[in-house]
C-alpha cells in the first residue's frame, strides 16, 4: 500500500468534561473507501470534524499522536493553512442538505464561492464552472437551477448540490457524513452511485460515515466500527460481514432486520445503552452490554491486529480465557 492520504493515530477530542473521542487511529489510502459505523454519539462525526479542525477551538480540545494528511502534519498548521486545505483538498458532505445550505443564497453562488476562494476564478467563470459541476452531479437543467435557491430543490437534488460544493475544489479526500440518511431509499441509491462514480473517476480517498450496515456493505472497502468514542473493530468489508470479531460488531450485524429470515423471528437488539461520555470509562466500554464478558473485561482491552488487516479490541480475541 502506498503512503496513506490520511493518517491518524491516537486522536483524542474533549469538550470540557465530555471525552467524545478516545484514542482513535485509522488511515485512508488514495482511492480507498473507509466506512465508519457506530451508533449515534459514538464519535464518528466528531472524529472527522476534528481531523478538519472544524471544532471551535474554545470548546474542543483536540490532541493526537499523529494527524497527517498527505504527509503533512495537520496539528501544527495555522488556522489559515487549515482554511486553505478545507474545501480545496478535503471536501465534506453533510447529513441534512437543507440545513447545510444557506437558504438566502442561490446554489450557483454557493458552489461558485468555493471556486473563487480556492481556484482563483472570477465571478463570471465561477458561475459557468458551477453550472458544469451541477451537470456533473446529475442536476437536470443546470443553467436554470444554478440561479435557484435551496428551498426550490428536492432532498435528493439538494444533496447533489452539496456534492457539487464538495467537489468544487477538486479534493483528494471526500468525507461523507451520513450523506443519505435524510433521503428516501430510491434517491439514496442514486446518491450512492453518484459518489461511487465520482470517486472512481478521480481516485479520491473517501470516508463514509453511516449507521446503515446494509449500505456500508455496498460502499466500503474497509470498515471501522466505533463504540463510545473508540474503535472496537476494523476489517476489510467482506471479512467484517463474514466473521465479525468483536461482540459489539456481532451484535450490530445480528440486529439487522432481514427479509430472508423465517417469519416471526425478530431482529435482536443489543440490550442496554452506551455509557455516558462525560465520565471516565474503566475497562472495556462495551462490557456492561456484552453477552460474553468475563473478569478480564474490567481492564481496557488493547486493539490487537488479527489476521489480514483485521483489528479488534476484545479480550476474547487475545487468547485469554475465563
Amino acid at each position: 500500500m502506498s503512503r496513506p492520504l490520511l493518517d491518524v493515530k491516537d486522536l483524542d477530542v474533549r469538550f470540557g468534561p465530555l471525552h467524545a473521542v478516545r484514542g482513535v487511529s485509522f488511515s485512508v489510502a488514495p482511492g480507498e473507501t473507509l466506512g465508519v459505523v457506530g451508533e449515534s454519539g459514538s464519535g464518528k462525526s466528531t472524529t472527522m470534524l476534528a481531523v478538519l479542525g472544524l471544532h471551535p477551538k474554545r470548546q474542543a480540545n483536540v490532541a493526537a499522536d499523529r494527524l497527517e494528511f498527505d504527509g503533512e502534519d495537520l496539528l501544527s498548521k495555522s488556522d489559515g493553512q487549515m482554511r486553505d486545505l478545507r474545501g480545496r483538498r478535503v471536501g465534506l458532505i453533510f447529513q441534512d442538505p437543507l440545513a447545510a445550505l444557506n437558504p438566502l443564497m442561490t446554489v450557483g453562488k454557493q458552489i461558485g464561492e468555493v471556486l473563487i476562494r480556492h481556484r482563483g476564478l472570477d465571478k463570471q467563470s465561477a458561475r459557468g464552472e458551477a453550472v458544469k459541476l451541477l451537470e456533473r452531479t446529475g442536476v437536470p437543467d443546470p443553467m436554470r437551477r444554478a440561479s435557484q435557491f435551496p428551498h426550490q430543490f428536492s432532498g435528493g437534488m439538494r444533496q447533489r448540490v452539496m456534492i457539487a460544493i464538495a467537489l468544487a475544489g477538486r479534493p483528494d479526500l471526500l468525507i461523507a457524513d451520513e450523506p443519505t440518511t435524510a433521503l428516501d431509499v430510491t434517491v439514496q441509491a442514486e446518491i450512492v452511485r453518484l459518489i461511487r462514480d465520482i470517486q472512481q473517476a478521480n481516485g479520491m480517498g473517501l470516508v463514509w460515515i453511516t449507521h446503515d450496515l446494509a449500505l456500508m456493505a455496498r460502499v466500503a472497502d474497509r470498515v471501522m466500527v466505533m463504540y463510545a468514542g473508540a474503535v472496537v473493530e476494523e476489517a476489510p468489508v467482506d471479512r467484517l460481514y463474514a466473521m465479525p470479531r468483536h461482540p459489539y460488531t456481532a451484535g450490530l450485524l445480528g440486529s439487522i432486520a432481514r427479509l430472508d429470515q423465517p417469519r416471526g423471528k425478530r431482529a435482536r437488539a443489543i440490550a442496554g445503552t452506551p455509557p455516558a461520555m462525560d465520565q471516565p470509562i474503566s475497562g472495556c466500554a462495551f462490557a456492561p452490554r456484552c453477552p460474553v464478558r468475563f473478569d478480564k473485561c474490567a481492564a481496557a482491552p488493547p486493539l490487537v491486529s488479527l489476521d489480514e488487516g483485521v483489528r479488534a479490541a476484545c479480550w476474547r480475541l487475545t487468547g485469554e480465557q475465563a
Binding site: 478538519l52 487549515m82 474545501g87 440545513a99 444557506n102 438566502l104 464561492e113
Partner: protein, 170 residues
C-alpha cells in the same frame, strides 16, 4: 441595556444639558438649522437602537451555530465572509420585521420629543388640534400618520421579499 432602561423624556433633557447647555455643540431647541436635528433624533432612536442591537446580537448567535455556517467553514471560506455574507443576512430577517414596527412606534413617541425640543412636528400639531377643538386638523394629522405607518409597513414587506427568497413564491 442602558438604552432600553432610560426613558426618552429624561434622556432628551440630559442630552440638552450636556451637549447644548454645557458644551454648546448643538442648539437647545427649535428647528432652524440642520444641527438641531441631532439631539432629537438621538433621543428618539435610542430605545429602538438598543432593542434592534439586542435582536441582531441574539440572531447572530443563533445563526452562527447553524449547519450552513459549518458548511461555509468546511468550504474554507474566510471568517469575514462567513460572518458578513452568510450569517448576517440570515440574522437580519427578524430585525427587518422588528425595525418596521419600531418605525411605527417612532411616529407615536415623537410627541414627547417634539415637546422637549420645541420642534414643530405632527405630534404637537395633533395635540394643539385637540385642545383647540380643530376637528378637521385632527383628522388630517391622524390620516397623515396612518398613511406613514402603512407606507412603512409596505416598504418592510417589500424589503423582506427582497432579502428572503423563500417568501417570494409562497
Amino acid at each position: 441595556m442602558i438604552g432600553l432602561a432610560v426613558p426618552a423624556f429624561w434622556l432628551g433633557l440630559m442630552l440638552i444639558l450636556i451637549f447644548a447647555v454645557t458644551w454648546q455643540f448643538f442648539p437647545v431647541s427649535g428647528s432652524d438649522q440642520a444641527s438641531s436635528l441631532v439631539l432629537p433624533a438621538l433621543t428618539l432612536s435610542m430605545q429602538s437602537t438598543a432593542r434592534l442591537c439586542r435582536l441582531v446580537r441574539s440572531g447572530m448567535i443563533e445563526v452562527l451555530n447553524a449547519d450552513f455556517i459549518r458548511t461555509a467553514r468546511a468550504k474554507g471560506l474566510f471568517e469575514s465572509r462567513i460572518v458578513w455574507v452568510h450569517a448576517l443576512r440570515n440574522a437580519l430577517l427578524p430585525v427587518v420585521t422588528m425595525a418596521g414596527l419600531e418605525l411605527g412606534d417612532l411616529i407615536s413617541s415623537a410627541v414627547v420629543i417634539e415637546a422637549i425640543f420645541a420642534w414643530p412636528g405632527i405630534g404637537r400639531l395633533a395635540i394643539g388640534a385637540v385642545s383647540s377643538r380643530d376637528f378637521p386638523l385632527l383628522q388630517g394629522t391622524v390620516l397623515v400618520s396612518a398613511f406613514c405607518f402603512v407606507a412603512i409597513n409596505l416598504f418592510v414587506d417589500w424589503l423582506y421579499h427582497r432579502i428572503d427568497p423563500r417568501v417570494r413564491n409562497t
